[in-house]
Symmetry: C2
Amino acid sequence: MPDKKQKEKQTQQKIDTKAGTLRIIPLGGLGEIGKNMTAYEFRAPNGQTDIIIVDCGFKFPEDEHLGVDYVIPDVQYLEEKKDKIRGMFITHAHEDHVGGLPYIIPKIPTPIFAPQLTAAMIERKLVEFKIEIGAGIRVINPDKDKIQLGSFNIEFFRINHSIPDSVGLAIRTPVGLTLHTGDFKFDYTPEDKRPADFAKLVNYGKEGVLALLSDSTGAEEPGYTLSEQEVEHSFFNIFEDAQGRIIVASFASLINRMQQVVNVAQRTGRKVAFVGRSMLNNVEIAVKYGYLKVPADAVINSNDLNKYPDNKVVIMCTGSQGEPNSALSRISRGEHKQVNLKRGDLVILSSSIIPGNERLIYGMIDDLYREGARVIREGARGPLQGSLHVSGHGGREELKLMMALTQPKFLVPIHGEIHHLAAHGDLAHEAGIPEENIFLLENGQVLELGLNSARLNGKIPVGVLLVDGLGVGDVQTIVLRDRQVMSTDGIFVAIVTVDKKTGKLLSSPDIISRGFIYMRESEKLVQNARMEIRKIVEKAAAKGAPDWNEVKNQMRDDLSKYLYKETQRKPMVVPVTIEL
Amino acid sequence: MPDKKQKEKQTQQKIDTKAGTLRIIPLGGLGEIGKNMTAYEFRAPNGQTDIIIVDCGFKFPEDEHLGVDYVIPDVQYLEEKKDKIRGMFITHAHEDHVGGLPYIIPKIPTPIFAPQLTAAMIERKLVEFKIEIGAGIRVINPDKDKIQLGSFNIEFFRINHSIPDSVGLAIRTPVGLTLHTGDFKFDYTPEDKRPADFAKLVNYGKEGVLALLSDSTGAEEPGYTLSEQEVEHSFFNIFEDAQGRIIVASFASLINRMQQVVNVAQRTGRKVAFVGRSMLNNVEIAVKYGYLKVPADAVINSNDLNKYPDNKVVIMCTGSQGEPNSALSRISRGEHKQVNLKRGDLVILSSSIIPGNERLIYGMIDDLYREGARVIREGARGPLQGSLHVSGHGGREELKLMMALTQPKFLVPIHGEIHHLAAHGDLAHEAGIPEENIFLLENGQVLELGLNSARLNGKIPVGVLLVDGLGVGDVQTIVLRDRQVMSTDGIFVAIVTVDKKTGKLLSSPDIISRGFIYMRESEKLVQNARMEIRKIVEKAAAKGAPDWNEVKNQMRDDLSKYLYKETQRKPMVVPVTIEL
């Protein structure tokens, strides 16, 4: 548990700094889903400091981030130590691990190390954003390469996830070996035919693992995550059975799912049309580097869909989360150029629901039904059974397996909300790791490792940067608070034009209101508000030389009270005085 | 499937109007979760018309209803036929079936018929809202009473749900017998010891059921809903095991859950403290009428909690959905007067997540963890197993059981989003009801029943009324659209004061902006915008006698473009001219 007393104790533990000190600082991804980023900072006894960074993700805005596009980690701490940063390592090409790059790489230019597919997807992204990749992207071979950067020696181990080329990192420093799993599960029959590298994990265990930083996303899921093979089985049954067109919606980065759809389409005599720019981009990259095997006759252009019988095609597109601009969402509203729904269409939502997206998804499903399509999705069992999606994250037994293989002295749950991290911590305790060796960190909290020892040591300030349109970090608390108020009760602007010398009103007060009430039907309210304002100004003018700030404050207070009494709403009241 | 072609066919079906026509008009609850309300309108061959209404709920606002408190059905159709309305029947006292009463009863005063507990809870609500109950609330005995109102004869049958005194209605008219289930499941060991009335249901089947309007909420859930008994078993295990305080959070209206907590607390030597006004109100009513059996020594006042050892108390409160003003939410933030969290507290969330509430709930859970509490909830399996909540709605097998018992000719799925209704329709088809006899209605769509016959016959206009503060229905599309724009990009008000005759500027343009950018850090942008405005006005003045509407339009267009170019945000731009 992320318990205060436990943390106090862990702060008082002693560490052995003889060989140096490794500071592990999560900059994002703890206490949240998304924007994963971790800094590893090694201070040698001679004072030399080296930093490497693992991952650089974004997350989607929370409810309170009105109007914000993305949230990325605040990397001020790293900017101040720019000259110590030796490189950045990316575990896989999902947005919660790479989405922050276009915003953050310009602030801390450093070489990026990643396997082939990840590197290619990053490069495409940075080019799209017109980011100079001065320091370069280095393609690593996860099976062979070891990278020496300052005091760090970094090696890679293959793990399974829902995108090929997912790796974990073995980070060696003079104080010992730290493992950073990235997102992972164990799949003995993965789509890309490359199971996790058990041999390496066992050898790390034999060598001695000082600390394991391990994915917590599935820490509340009992048992094991099903193999991706199961999805292919279900798809086969559904494809065989379907009389009309099939539309499979998933994430643009689920390369493995694309492979499954292509495989099953081939076996059932259907052609695949990929729809949507982001999906087509990823298909292109994955095919180019051999991560997606697509026979020449397997795929058709979405413009040619009507040239084939309905039972001979599959459409694969984005939109399984109901994202309003996604292909499937546009299809459901009848706004898509190439795909018009008709009776007999079968839509498969091949992803689980990301919490927060429920309303969008159910709204879209209802739109699909309205157009005559049928929808099947994981979790809602109609006549069709089977797994339409499997998670990319291991369940409780897999998390235990990771610990059993690598035998870490210290465990740091990463990737997850507090309840995920806490569940992972409890699991580790059950698996035999002593409570004082389980570190439930928050973003910014510093874990210090010495030889065979660890302790908490304070926090660095970490905030978030909000990306809104072209602005990165310029939308802050005040702006968000104003958006919040206006979103629920609107704004009420009261403008008075007065004579600078006498304080007398030069015209009737003007009132501008938006999002508060329908003005045309509220004449009396507006009239009374105007009278109220007039009274306040005239009273102030009668005394001579009014203090206009005081007058404005009174206008704000009195109008707020009056409007609340009449409507029980609290619009933002903005008084404006124009002195002529 | 709610398919267009199928609906066209059903419109063309012929009905036998010899004995009159029964028009069933859903005013809410179809294509949505909540605001359930159905009108039954019988037109006799002699022209006499009678209307009865079933239920009168509200729903919580959708994402687009910014700042709105509740959404209720628009009853204009009924207001126009006020003199035909004979009565309103309430199936049970949940908000999605009674929450609309305080707003709607004043518009269509009519007697309300309900069983004892439901009637008492409605009365309390109407008194709270200071609503005159001119036409009265009539307490019915579901086992005996038959109510004759015009051509309608209404009888009740007990069904199970998560609140006692839940009933369905058997509505007889000269064209036949219609059943309206309300929310239901079948529970052979319900908390209130009153199973559904199978005998009546079977007899209706023998008599011949023309139409069955049946709850669709669980139509995608395989199998049967577990008995409430299972929850009591799990609670017993958890209570026995827990070393510290236990906090159980659920809905204020889940009277059965309260009984379970009291029972298990008694068996494990704990006292129960109910916390929160709405929960205390309902406890009081349920105890008064004998629906909640609480021994004198079982309950303590929440002010006395500290007088008992931690392992001797249970706190029962609202807040399982993370509602910000609920007791549990305030407890999680350390803002509750009587309950301060501490290490060892165990929080049980005893409800399923209502879609849309995920972020609130997970945020609250993380706050609870931060304070040192542990949280267990249905669906996330930590070390503790078992059912912490069972649905109040039957699963697929129960829906089939209802059809098997009552043998309806026509089926109308009610209560649910389109995908629920469609799944229920598919199920009915599998169970042997012909497709043309399954009516998938939308709100406002009229189902006409004659002797042994049914057809669709058009739609009445049905909208929704939005309740916002004191206003009912005054917040409409324009106000919501303005709130939407301001919530994401803010507002930008440009004020120019001009000479009425010459059109010349009398002072520098004023700019008021909220929720757009942080103005203090955007001086250049504001300065440029001001220049832009000045240019537009001066150009217009130069030509003499400017058309100020035209000038304002130009200001709006040019400023919007300029601001978008600079920020890629689209604030609401409001130009104001003050002519002196």
